[in-house]
Every structure is written in C-alpha cells, then in structure tokens.
C-alpha cells in the first residue's frame, strides 16, 4: 500500500518519507487505540486529559454534582473499567468505595488487571500533597471536615495540580513508556497555561482576599489557602448533621459583627439553610463549583477556577 502510493504519486520520495516517518514515530497504540484511563471524579479526568492529550481516553465514574464520598458504584462501572490500563483516584478516604469496586471488578472480569491499590496502574492523586485540616481521629472533628486523614478537597488548590499531574505522569510513563516524552511535554504545557492563569486569578481576587466569608461546609480549605480567602465559619460544621439553633444564632451574630457579605455553597448542598443564614445577616449566597462540571461554566480544570473566581469577585463587588 505504502509503496504503491509512493510510486504513483508525483513527488514519490518526499511523500513516502513523510508517511514512513510518521508510521515509525507513532507507536502502534496510537494507530489502533488510545490508552484507557478511568478516574473517580471529573476533576481527575480533566487533569488526566491534560497529561494524556489525545493519546488517552479518560472516563470518570462519579457524575458532577454528586457527592463522591457517598457514591454507590453501579454494575456499569465494572464495564467502564474494562480494558482500562490506569485508574486515578482522589485518596485520603474520599473515594473508599473505589477499592471495593476494583476488587470486585478484578475478581469477576478477566480483562481487568493491575488496577488495585499498590498495583502498577493505580494512581492515588493525593500522594505528596500537603494535606490540610490534618487532625487524627482521636483529636476529634470539633469543627471542619470529619476526615481522619485530612481534608480531601485538595484539587481546589490549582498549585496542587502540579503534584497530581506529576503522579499521573509517573504511572502513564511507566505503563506506556513509548509515549513518555509526549506525556511529559503535555504536562509541562498544561502547567505553563495554569501558571499564567494563576497570576490572572490572583489579580482578580485581590479585592476578595482577607474579606470574611462563610461557607456551607468546609470543602474550600485548599482554595482558601491558595487565594488567601478568609472563611470564618461554616453553616453545617459537621457534614450530614443539621446545624443546631445555637450554632446558627452564633454564626449570624458573627456575620453581622464582621460584615460578612458572602455565603459560599456548592450546588449539591442544601440551599435552604444557606439562604436562611444569608438572609438573616444580609449576605448573598454564591454558588461555587466544587468540581469540574458542577456548574455549567466549569467545563474543565482551568474553567473551574475561572468560574469560581468570577462568582466570588462579582459577589463581593455587589
């Protein structure tokens, strides 16, 4: 086929060379199929796509706007794991159900191999993250996130994308060494884009920085640390337990005293309690996307921050 084309073409040698070169350079996997990656959340999917570019095909299991901590795996999730070479998970006890799913899938499906914790294709995104709200179980979750292994929402610090993509790159390059340089270049290009935006976000958020704010639930610790946002209280300090009247009264009092103008809520969190507190204290409720896809504007990892920065700034300017 190649030689016939080369012979028939007007510039036979040149075109033949180009085709031969491209066939030589491109690994066989590109010609046939792309490397399959399965992630638990949409944020990790976006980051895996940023590293893998067009040589990977990424599926995420938990739909946006569903609490990934409470996700119940479905039979189709086993099918989605089929032929996956790499899985990426949040870790820090955030997606514990994923271990059970992987065990089940490995035991029942012959084409699912090497994906479990500790095996070659398993990426724990939280590896080497500087974890916030780290209190051991015995210290007790007096407020904040009730996780023994720290606050798991680390992807909300854009700087942490460097670590997470690093973890993904490590495994990708080992599983698919031929494309290692490509993945590495992709990751560096992504981080350069991120760096440029980060400066932009910092400038935009300058008027919000340090201003006291309330959040529905302590899921924004990493965002707060990166952008110097000042969350002084939470509507529901213990996840899943409705706030007590004494807590709400104290919160409203604090909000009035410190002139809090913004109550932050994720789309999947109950709107009533947040609206109640905001109305009592004369603040506005701002919807922030806790993960990619949670709001229509947050379509990938970069636009997630674009959307959140825009929402925060316009609420504070109100």
């Amino acid at each position: 086929m190649l030689f016939r084309t080369a012979r028939a073409a007007p510039l036979p040698t040149l075109r033949g060379c180009v085709i031969a070169m491209s066939l030589l350079l491109a690994p066989p996997s590109l010609a046939q199929e792309r490397l399959r990656i399965v992630t638990t959340t949409t944020d990790l999917r976006s980051l895996a796509e940023a590293v893998g570019g067009d040589r990977v095909e990424v599926t995420s299991l938990v739909p946006p706007n569903i609490d990934a901590e409470e996700y119940q795996a479905k039979p189709q999730d086993v099918v989605r794991l089929k032929d996956a070479r790499v899985v990426v998970r949040v870790g820090l006890d955030f997606d514990l159900w994923f271990d059970r799913l992987l065990t089940q899938a490995t035991l029942t499906q012959s084409n699912i191999r090497g994906l479990r914790r500790g095996e070659a294709g398993h990426v724990d995104g939280s590896l080497a993250i500087a974890v916030l709200d780290q209190r051991g179980a015995s210290v007790g979750p007096s407020d904040g996130h009730a996780h023994a292994s720290g606050n798991p929402h680390y992807w909300l610090d854009p700087k942490n994308a460097e670590i997470v993509t690093g973890n993904i790159l490590d495994t990708l390059a080992r599983i698919d060494p031929a494309n290692g340089p490509y993945y590495e270049a992709q990751r560096l290009a992504f981080l350069a884009r991120l760096e440029a935006r980060l400066a932009d976000w910092d400038v935009k958020l300058a008027p919000v920085q340090g201003k006291p704010m309330i959040a529905y639930h302590n899921s924004w610790a990493y965002l707060a640390r990166r952008f110097r946002l000042n969350f002084i209280g939470f509507v529901e300090p213990k996840p899943g337990v409705p706030p007590s009247p004494a807590h709400l009264a104290q919160l409203i009092k604090t909000m009035r005293e410190r002139d809090v103008r913004v109550v932050v809520r994720a789309p999947h969190e109950p709107e009533k309690n947040a609206a109640f507190v905001a109305a009592k204290a004369g603040a506005a409720v701002v919807l922030l996307a806790g993960s990619v896809g949670a709001l229509p504007a947050a379509q990938d990892y970069l636009s997630l921050f674009d959307a959140n920065v825009g929402a925060l700034v316009s609420a504070q300017m109100r």
């Binding site: 916030l132 209190r135 051991g136 707060a224 640390r225 004494a246």
Partner: protein
Amino acid sequence: MTDALTLLWPPFLVALCLIGIHTYFGIQVLARNVIFVDLALAQIAALGTTVAFMLGHSMQGGATYLYSLAFTLLAAFLLAFTRTWSKRISQEALIGVIYVVAAAAAILLIDRAPQGAEHLKQILTGNILTTGTTELAAIVPLYLAIGALHWLLWSRLAPAKGGTWLWEFMFYATFGVVVTSSVALAGVLLVFSFLIMPAAVGVLFAESLPRQLAIGWTAGSLASAAGLIASYVADLPTGAAMVCTFGAMLALAGLIYPFVQGNAAHAMARAVLVGRWGLALVLAGSAALLMAAPRADQPLLDAVEYVFPSVRGIYLTRSEADIYRDAHAYAERYRREAEELNELETRSRAEGQALDDLLVRRISAFIKSYSEMRRGEEFVKREVRSRARERIRWIAGGGVLLIALAMMPGLLPLCRRLAGSGTREPLAPPLPSRERSDSERSAAERRNPGEGV
C-alpha cells in the same frame, strides 16, 4: 437570649400549625390503623417532584407543585381503593409497598439527573429551624380550608362510618395535600412525630374527638417548645431533638396513664415493683459482667465514673491514681497542642504570612504524632483502670450482686422467713409485700372488673 427568641419563634409557630392539623389527622389515622400512610404519601409527593424536575421544571415552581399534587391524588385513589380490596392483606402492607416502590422509582429517575439527588434528599429531610413567616402564609390558609372541609363533612369522613369509596378518597386526598406541604417544611421524621404522638396521647386520655384534640394539641405544643429549647441550650440538631422530646412526651403520658385512669395506689405499687426488678436486674447484670470480664466495657460503672470521676479514686491505688492523672494531663496537653497547630495553620491561610507547603506538611506531621501520642496516653488510662478493675472484680462484683439481690422484690422477706423458721422464732412473719399487692389487686379487680390493667 433575644437571639434565641428571634431564631426560635418562627419555627415554633410553624410547629403549632403543623400540630394543629396533624393531631386531627393522626387521630383519624390511628382509628383507621394506617400508621405509615404519611410516609407513603410523602414519598409519592417526592416522586412527583422528581418527575417534574426531570421534565425540566424548577424545584420551587408551580408546575412542580402540580406534579407532586397529581401524584399524591393518584396515591390517594389507590389507598381509597385498597381499603376494601382484600380482607386477606392488611392495608398497611400495601402502604408499605407504595412507600418502597415510590422511593425506588425516585432513585431510578434521579440516577439520570445527578444534580437532583440532593434535592430529593432535601424534600424528605426538611429543616423546621429555617422556616418562617413566608411558609406560615402558605400553610395557614391551606390548613384552615382543609380543616373547615373536614368539619363540614365530618358525618361522612369519620373513620367509624366505614364510608363509601368516594369519601375515603376525599380523606386520603386532603391528607396527601397536607403531608406534601408539611414534609417539605419539617421532614419525614418530624411530620410522623407530629402526626402520631400527640394524637396517641389524646386518644389515651379521652374518648370524644374535641377532648382528644385539646389534649393532643396541648401535649404537642409543650413537646415542641421543649424540643426547640433543648435544641438551643444543648446545641443539638433541631428536628432530631424535637422528635426525641415527642417520644419522651409519649413515654411520660404512658407512665402517668395508669395513675390517672384506674387505681392510683395499685399503679404505684406496680411501678415500684417494676422499678425494683429493673434496678435489680441492671445491677446484677453489671456485677456479673464485672466478675466475668473486668477488662470489657462496663456500661454502668463507666457512666457512674463519667458523672462522678471521684468514684475512680475508691478503687485505684495511690500510684495507679498518679499514673492515671498524669496520663490524663498529657493527653489533654497533646490535644491542646494539636488544636493550636491546627488553628495556626487555618489562620495563616488568610492572615499574616502564608505558610509554604513544607511548613504545612510539618504541621500535619506534628498533628498526626500528637494524636498518636494522645492515643497512647488514652491506652495507659484504660490499662490502669482495667487492671484495678481486675483486682476488685470479686469484691465489688459480689457486693453489687448482694445489693441487687436485696432489691429483688420478695427475696428479703423470703430469706427472713427462712431464717426465722431456722431459729424457732414465732411463725408470724409479716405478709410478704408482693403477696399483699397480689391480693390487693384481685380485690381491686373484683371491685371494678376490666379496669385493672
């Protein structure tokens, strides 16, 4: 204080309105023996809301309300139909079926629209604390209208009449409308409490509907106020606190019922008897547990030590007490240090100098080791206590067991009689109290038969 009042009076008014209509429906529901019908109707209404949501209507819109109303009416139709459907299957079984199928169908639907999952949960959990005058303006006219309707049609809607199919439908339809709105405000748990518990108290103490209503309303209002206050003072979630005070109210009513209806002296004797047996059994069980497994959790002893920590001093030796105190002090110190580090890190996010990743990691590591060390001190405390308990297991366990035996009704007099017969004392022991109460009871039953128990 004013903070508490401004926060608590709107939900209290909402609770009064809900109790007003639900006590009435509760009496009806108890008479018809369809206790869980409100759960089924609430779940059906939630299913209607879900369908509307799936079709692209907003969660608070009018179309959504119409959908949930239509589904509720459909369920009312089914319920009215099933009352005379079969003599073999209780209607409660079909109510259960409606509940689980509606719940499962909603889950199946919502699976296709992820952002709806939390909404579905909210429909059924509600939060009475955040309700206020806007909600009152919506429910007061509705409840008044339904109340008036039932008053006018009372001759047809009374449960005893076993009315025709149409009137049954009428009952379930109006009830469905009430439940649809109230569950959205207060949640399933609280609405069930509003429905059943004041009505149960009313039915317990009165025969006629007006008196049942009056008693139910009073009891419900008091329990609501107590629940709201308890929730504020003790810093508890409001709905759950109210459900528990309602339960306590019903238990209290059950306790005083025998004193009000029937022979008070006999009820007293019975209460004392039950109390003595209960206490004796708890003590005997604790003693047996201490003797058999002194290192295991000792619920009674642990509770006593929690309330009166000085009790521990009785059975710890001096050196053990010193070790225990030291371990406690260290554990407290580690907890404080960890809290301080955590505080420092949290503050640094927005104030002062930002901490770099290295410092955050070091703080994390310190907090982790502090909590490990604290766990170690807690282990020391537990070990010291367990060893001391092992030492005293026979003495303390035996002593408590003796106290328990002494408390058992009828046992002391029996022993006295046995001892008496052994020492040739005059054979005229006092009549054992239990036999006396038995004979008194039979006398009371002879006096007014059918009212004894």
